[in-house]
């Protein structure tokens, strides 16, 4: 989000002692990394739930274990969807901006 800060676009004279804050990380790759990581985690939970359900059918696991795994996958998927919704709405808000 450092790209959106006004200070960066306004050239502040260096002699006044005010230097614009520098972003430590590249926010674009950082966000991509975070998103990728959480997507992978959600995918892991989904496949884990799938595996537990299969084991339950084969008689290796109890019903409640399968249900718990399914609920965990369900919750993480919903959380991921909410993050995506927020991201899309922020993007749309910026695209609507008058130039």
């Amino acid at each position: 989000m450092a790209d959106l800060k006004i200070q960066n676009s306004i050239a502040v004279p260096a002699e006044r002692g005010l230097t614009p804050p520098k972003a430590v990380h590249d926010p674009l790759t950082d966000f991509k990394k975070v998103m990728n990581g959480s997507l992978r985690e959600v995918n892991n939970l989904l496949s884990q739930a799938d595996q537990t359900t299969q084991e339950m059918v084969l008689g290796k696991q109890d019903i409640h274990q399968a249900m718990v795994a399914l609920e965990q996958a369900n919750l993480s998927l919903r959380l991921m969807l909410q993050v995506r919704n927020k991201m899309i709405s922020a993007y749309e808000e910026i695209m609507r901006m008058q130039i």
Partner: protein, 145 residues
């Protein structure tokens, strides 16, 4: 993850109560068993619950020791050797020379009480699980119009 941790605690409770119900079932099934692999009558089994980390792994254990995660429960099955019933029944194949038969120390009434307790406890764990899930879903609604 705090949310999944509370779900795992509830899951450990479900596991423990499932084990308790299994123990009651085996006690009821063997209430009149006079022959076992180790010889002698069937000995009543009891579940002993102990505090245990809800999830495995070093990180979970470490977090619990630091006070971050609260522990779940674990069920262990122990044998009860007290209170075997001796009845006089000379016609029984397992009777000794004096005609006495040693019957298992299973009291069906007690087992029914244990069964009821385990069932209710299982339900309570399910309710706690659903409450945690409901809170998480409600939290996802934050900011929605």
């Amino acid at each position: 993850m705090g949310l999944f941790e509370s779900l795992k605690v509830s899951a450990s409770g479900l596991n423990a109560q499932r084990r308790a119900i299994q123990t009651v079932a085996t006690n009821l099934a063997n209430a009149h068993t006079t022959r076992t692999e180790s010889g002698g009558p069937y000995l009543r089994k009891r579940t002993v619950l102990s505090e245990a980390p809800a999830s495995e792994g070093f990180a979970a254990m470490f977090s619990q020791k630091l006070g971050g995660n609260l522990p779940g429960v674990k069920a262990e099955v122990v044998e009860d050797t007290q209170g075997l019933k001796v009845v006089f029944d000379p016609s029984h194949p397992d009777a000794d020379e004096s005609g006495a038969v040693t019957l298992p120390n299973v009291s069906v009434v007690e087992e029914m009480v244990d069964l009821l307790r385990a069932t209710r406890s299982y339900e309570a764990n399910v309710t706690a699980f659903n409450a945690a899930k409901g809170m998480a879903l409600k939290a996802l609604e934050i900011g929605n119009k």
